[in-house]
């Protein structure tokens, strides 16, 4: 699975992107957030408050209960601030 991080999520994780093997018990976006929070101190800081995190699965905005699969591109970022 390809993971992308943007804005302060990228800064806290310390990576713009990474490839991971998806654990079998991770089935949705919320599960992935909980798993990622255990990967490193940087990940833990980035994902400490899931309410501050937004996600996209295969480049479409995704809710916490959206399913994820091994081949997906999943991105995590703060609420958007364009315009």
């Amino acid at each position: 699975m390809k993971l992308l991080y943007f804005a302060w999520v990228r800064q806290k994780v310390g990576l713009a992107e990474e490839e991971i093997g998806l654990p079998e018990d991770v089935r949705d976006v919320a599960g992935l957030v909980a798993f990622l929070a255990t990967r490193s101190p940087g990940h833990a800081a980035a994902f400490a408050d899931p309410r501050q995190i937004r996600a996209a699965v295969n480049q479409d905005f995704a809710k916490p209960d959206q399913a994820v699969a091994a081949g997906d591109e999943v991105a995590f970022f703060p609420p958007v601030t364009g315009g």
Binding site: L4, A7, Q59, F61, A75, F77, V80, T81, G82, G83
Partner: protein, 153 residues
């Protein structure tokens, strides 16, 4: 007109040139509405750095513009959003909408700027003259502005 013209770019844009390009040689446009968002110098701001998600950002803007195109009888639409480092006074975003009559052009323009603020993946980081920096936080008022279009207003 084939449909909306969407661009995400570092380069500046020129409102006059874009308006002329949209209306040149056309006789079916009765009204052209525009919105230009500029970088303000709040609290000693030295620059705004805009980040985006290449691929998804363009897709999201296409989707929002397609919705405006379906909802109002538009005859032209240009959306340009800049990324990278922008100094105070610099233009950030351009929305241009053309229609036979003013109401459609004005409403579609307001819809597009309200929606792209909440539905397109861009993030702003503020850099200050004293070296501080901070990420801009999303505003509840922006969510409310976008939501009013969903209630059939």
């Amino acid at each position: 007109m084939a449909g909306p013209d969407i661009r995400v770019q570092e380069a500046p844009f020129d409102l006059g040139a874009e308006s002329a390009a949209l209306s040149q040689g056309r006789t079916d446009i009765g009204g052209l509405a525009s919105f230009v968002g500029l970088c303000r110098a709040d609290d000693g701001l030295a620059a705004l750095v805009l980040e985006h998600y290449p691929g998804m950002t363009e897709r999201a803007l296409e989707k929002i513009a397609a919705e405006a195109w379906a909802r109002w009888p538009l005859t032209g639409c240009t959306v340009i959003h800049r990324v990278g480092r922008l100094v105070p006074g610099a233009p950030i975003v351009l929305v241009l909408t053309a229609s036979a009559h003013r109401a459609a052009a004005l409403e579609a323009c307001a819809f597009l700027i309200d929606w792209l603020k909440t539905s397109a993946p861009f993030w702003k980081r503020e850099e200050f003259a004293d070296g501080r920096e901070r990420w801009v936080e999303a505003k509840a008022s922006d969510d409310a502005a976008a939501a009013r279009w969903a209630s059939g207003a």
